[in-house]
Symmetry: C2
Subunit: 435 residues, 2 copies
């Protein structure tokens, strides 16, 4: 079931306004990794909340508790909020645009994460060519450059664009939706898992009651040409090494070469964790990863992907191998792909109607068959939703491989923003038809 | 020639006032490693300058130019000053106390470095038990605790104490003196070498004309019991490794295990620089160090020093060897003891009258024979003076091995401050007699 032509037209004719809104969101310096910017993260949540309210979305702000970071900065605001929205399922009335319950009763939850770049790449001196918090529209290249443009303000604005189009066109949303937005994903989203699990426990009274599938738009195409659907994630395993030694800081001149120094031993140990080809040398790590079979290997070989793609995106001749499948496996299956917990949860069934719907949407908008990818980014909430709700979780990326997420001069291509918005809307229609 | 009894009495009876002045200097947050504290370093120089002027010392503030640090903080004040003082060599007159030229015409230059701890150990959260910038007098232990107490405000105050005693007692200084104080030693003292060399070039008109020996008080005893005289320093050789790779910051999830990462290679390389026993593995480094002979070995074996001493000072069972001579050689001769430049300049002749004078002073005050040590700290100006002036340079430490220079809870023992002041004064009398 394709989206109505009026929807697609609306998106095209309102592109400038959409970019303006994206610019407003980029201007909020919600750097989750910087404790001094905590208030900006809260501001970002409140701004998003009011945007949703203006579009007729009911919201509830959740207190996720405190999140202490960076020791001495604990005096900065440490509480943050989750903005969650739902469309009322009442019929239209009194001129208020509300969500129409669809025949199939399916619900979809969309979890856009209001994520910003890691680290402190916010200064021009770090390599930004323009002010990171001013969205710059590069007319000739079509790039929308600004911190958080692609990770993850652009995709979130995509959902707002979809809702706005329906509201202003006076047409019903094809499915009911629940949203969940949260602003500290790059710093562990402390409290979010517990909050979601609490809501799930509430059953019929809970925020996520009736959700039939999940869609998260927080990752990237494999290259700069072909849209992708992502069905697997590798996770992150944190290990820590504590090395003890002297009881205090020591003067290097007085103690150097007379005592064992923890830094020396730490460097020695760290030098043994990874070999030059990127293989992790910690015993047992690779045993956690199921071996690939011939079929999986063929998947990698078929993907629209070259060594040039990765090196172009990385900005250097740095690929670990000249073999495409080896590099792709490094990204998609090596390291820690959660199999120890529940491989079924994280490697989603790509034949599920949720994926089929997204595939149809991509084919309708881009006239291309998507790459089916597994992704390096962990996005831990993926697993939380998969396990808590027991439904299919789709990752539907908006941006390209070279967007520079977490880096300087982060960008989202204008066409990805606009066509990507169309994909999101069309996807909802396909879900409504399929579920 | 011992110091007059009135001198020693003055030091004892004015100890509280001396500690108060040390407290005033500690209260100035002159952290040379923090660009935001540059103004405090200048304040420290100005405070010292006015103290010297009040004691009748003529001074000249030198502009050493700018010293940029920490990129974005370049807007902070970047010029600093050297406070240099000399006593006028006029006879007493009109009630003004001035320096009397001694018969032997010897001059001594004292180069106390207004050094503060490296790094940012200025916060209580870093492990300080008390406010680092408030000198705390621990009555039972006799410790004077405060940042910079021992490195190097205490020793500098020692010289002020000596001058004050002579001024207020109305007795002549036993020798003429030139001072040189500078506040950025922990950060390279940019501009100081050039400034000194300029003065030396001026000959008779220069600040250091007539200087016969040098005394620097900026290091420590080898243990907590025995005063030391230091006749050698090892230096610091800076090496840098540049590893290039991707053209920008990369998202670990997207690129991890697909590209060569500079950090991985850097860790691997750094892991090969030093072995577990602290030996430097860079080819050729050890060839720069002349081998020791039996006589030198005996020196180490005779020193009043045990493995317990170093482990007590370091606060942990961390000695690289259980052999005392091995550990002492690690501290005193390994690494980079400047031999490539001029080993004669840095390993001073301990039979020189300058050292003999200090030895007699220590014996007079402490009733102990000093350890003759070679030191780990680089104190680069040592070499500058040795080479520029061509005179003997003595390092006469005031503090103990466990003072915690550069570390948290830095302290100077009250007895080291007071008896150390007596040593400095007595040393001047011995120099006057010997030279």
């Amino acid at each position: 079931m394709p989206a109505p032509a009026s929807f697609s037209n609306y998106i095209d004719t309102h592109a400038e306004a959409f970019i303006k809104r994206l610019g407003e969101s980029v201007a909020i310096k919600s750097i989750s990794s910087d404790a001094r910017r905590r208030q900006d993260v809260i501001t970002m949540g409140n701004w998003l909340n009011s945007q949703l309210n203006e579009l007729g979305v009911e919201t509830k702000l959740m207190d996720l508790g405190t999140h202490e970071m960076q020791g001495a900065d604990a005096a900065t605001p440490t509480s943050y909020h989750r903005a969650s929205g739902e469309r009322s399922d009442e019929e239209d009335g009194a001129g208020v645009w509300t969500l129409r319950r669809t025949a199939c009763e399916s619900f979809i939850a969309v979890f856009g994460i209001t994520v910003l770049s890691l680290g402190n790449q916010a200064l021009k001196t770090d390599g930004w060519k323009t002010d990171p918090f001013t969205l710059v529209v590069e007319e000739d290249s079509g790039r929308l450059i600004g911190r958080g443009s692609t990770d993850d303000k652009g995709p979130i604005m995509g959902w707002l664009n979809v809702i706005e189009a329906h509201k202003n066109l006076g047409i019903a949303m094809p499915v009911n939706m629940r949203f969940c937005f949260e602003g500290m994903e790059e710093n562990g989203s402390e409290g979010l898992d517990e909050c979601i699990q609490e809501e799930v426990k509430k059953g019929k009274e809970g925020w996520f009651d009736g959700v039939d599938c999940v869609c998260i738009s927080d990752n990237y195409w494999l290259n700069t040409r072909t849209p992708a659907l992502t069905y697997g994630l590798r996770g992150i395993a944190y290990f820590s090494i504590n090395i003890t030694g002297p009881g205090q800081d020591l003067h290097s001149g007085l103690f150097g070469r007379t005592v064992h120094e923890p830094m020396t031993d730490l460097i020695k140990l760290m030098g043994k964790l990874v070999d030059h080809n990127g293989a992790i040398l910690i015993p047992g790590i690779d045993d956690m990863i199921p071996p690939h079979d011939e079929e999986e290997l063929k998947l990698y070989q078929k993907m629209d992907y070259t060594i040039d793609d990765i090196e172009e995106a990385a900005g250097g001749k740095v690929a670990l191998s000249s073999d495409k499948a080896t590099v792709l496996m490094g990204r998609m299956r090596q390291a820690i792909p959660f199999p120890a917990r529940d491989s079924g949860c994280i490697l989603r069934d790509v034949k599920h109607w949720n994926f089929e719907a997204a595939k149809k949407a991509i084919e309708a908008v881009y006239k291309k068959t998507p790459d089916y990818t597994r992704e390096g980014g962990s996005i831990p909430v993926t697993l939380t939703f998969a396990e808590s709700l027991g439904v299919n979780v789709l990752l539907l990326p908006m941006g390209r491989a070279d967007d520079g997420a977490h880096s300087t001069n982060e960008k989202l291509d204008r066409s990805n923003f606009i066509e990507g918005t169309k994909v999101l809307g069309t996807y909802l229609y396909e879900v409504g038809a399929a579920a």
